[in-house]
């Protein structure tokens, strides 16, 4: 009887500890964002905490990573931009965005895939502990139809 009670208490402690660790690391925390109209929300998959997709394959995804090495918005947006341009992405627009009062930077790229022009937006928000990146992309012609709805959805992202 005593042994059963002890095991139950231990399991409860382990669950609470794991949840606490998970919160501290930032992994597994849910992302709050209003999906664009007509999009369906998927599970985050291997790389993201949130994914939503339109019927014809325009995707919006958000990931939350640790702010390590510790950097500000300029560092992270610059590092991501340099990586993408090294990979052949053509930046055609960059501007500041604000999501629920938190300032971020959005860079819009074009790249060809399977003989078609594709659009890829990456929006970066940085807090003391985390780096949030919201990616949106798809075939240019399909993406253009959703671009305004995607921009509005990004403004609803709960960065904190």
């Amino acid at each position: 009887m005593h042994s059963t009670l002890h095991r139950s208490t231990s399991l409860r402690f382990l669950a609470v500890a794991l949840a606490g660790l998970s919160l501290l690391s930032g992994c597994g925390t849910s992302i709050h964002i209003a999906p664009p109209p007509g999009f369906a929300v998927l599970d985050g998959g291997e790389d993201h905490a949130y994914r939503a997709v339109s019927p014809d394959g325009v995707v919006l995804a958000v990931r939350r990573e640790k702010n390590e090495p510790h950097g500000d918005l300029g560092f992270w947006s610059g590092a991501i931009d340099a990586k993408l341009r090294r990979d052949g992405y053509r930046a055609f627009e960059a501007h500041e965005v604000v999501a629920k009062g938190v300032r971020g930077k959005q860079i819009r790229y074009a790249i060809e895939r399977a003989g078609r022009e594709h659009t890829y937006w990456v929006t970066v928000f940085v807090t003391e502990k985390h780096v949030l990146t919201a990616e949106a992309g798809g075939d240019h012609e399909l993406f253009a139809r959703e671009s305004q709805a995607l921009a509005r959805a990004l403004e609803t992202l709960d960065v904190e």
Binding site: G45, E46, D47, R51, R85, F92, Y120, Q148
Partner: protein
Amino acid sequence: MVYRTSFAVVLSGLLAFGEGCAARQSLPEAAPYKASYGEAVAADSSPSSEEGGTRAQASMPVGEPASKGKQAASDKVASSEEAPGTPILIYAGALALLVDPAAFAATIDSATELATKLGGFVGRHDDRSVTLRVPSTHFREAMRELEKLGAVQSRNVEAEDVTEEFHDLDVRLKSLHATRKRLEELLQKAANIHDVLEVEEQLARVTEEIDRIEGRIRFLQSHAALSTITVTLAPKTPTALKTLAPLPPRTIPLPIGWFSSLGIDYLLELSR
């Protein structure tokens, strides 16, 4: 016998007149004058030009103040008593615009609204093009407003000068009316069935020719009063950003693991 001879002489004289009309009819029509948009606009900018019978003058109807309205244009082409030298032009414009594909429908709607506002209408339209008919007095204004709906890929304006054809048709019509009147008078005087049949045959031929010419005049009048503008849309593709600074000669990839899963390929791989 004397009566028959004189009847035959009169009828052959009328027929000879009719042949003269036919000969005029076979004259080549005025070659269409194709003006570039630049020429048309340049001509429009000097509507008070003193040059007579030049291309600049030929473009004058486009540059007329809108306040004169479409009635003025209709009157101008409808009247057969207009001042000599006033050109009668049929305008046709074509615009190819680059537009965001998401805005195709809205652009077609805007073009339609513009045509209606200027007193015109839509001839036909589909998902990517629209053909508008607008009063010729508003042709230039319509082209300018339509050019604002997207990035202009190409533009083309053609002005066909039908003045000579119109006046030629008008003269032939008057001659044919006179011939018909005389044939009708001759018919009253015909003394035997042979003469009646002969005159009636000529009357039918002249009447048919009058109908044909009147139809052609109506066609020219309607096309000169209303210009045709065809707008074609094509998708606008993003261009490389000019304002962002180019990359320095060498950048070093940062050792940040999650960067490897950034990009469109990972994003669109939904099974991952």
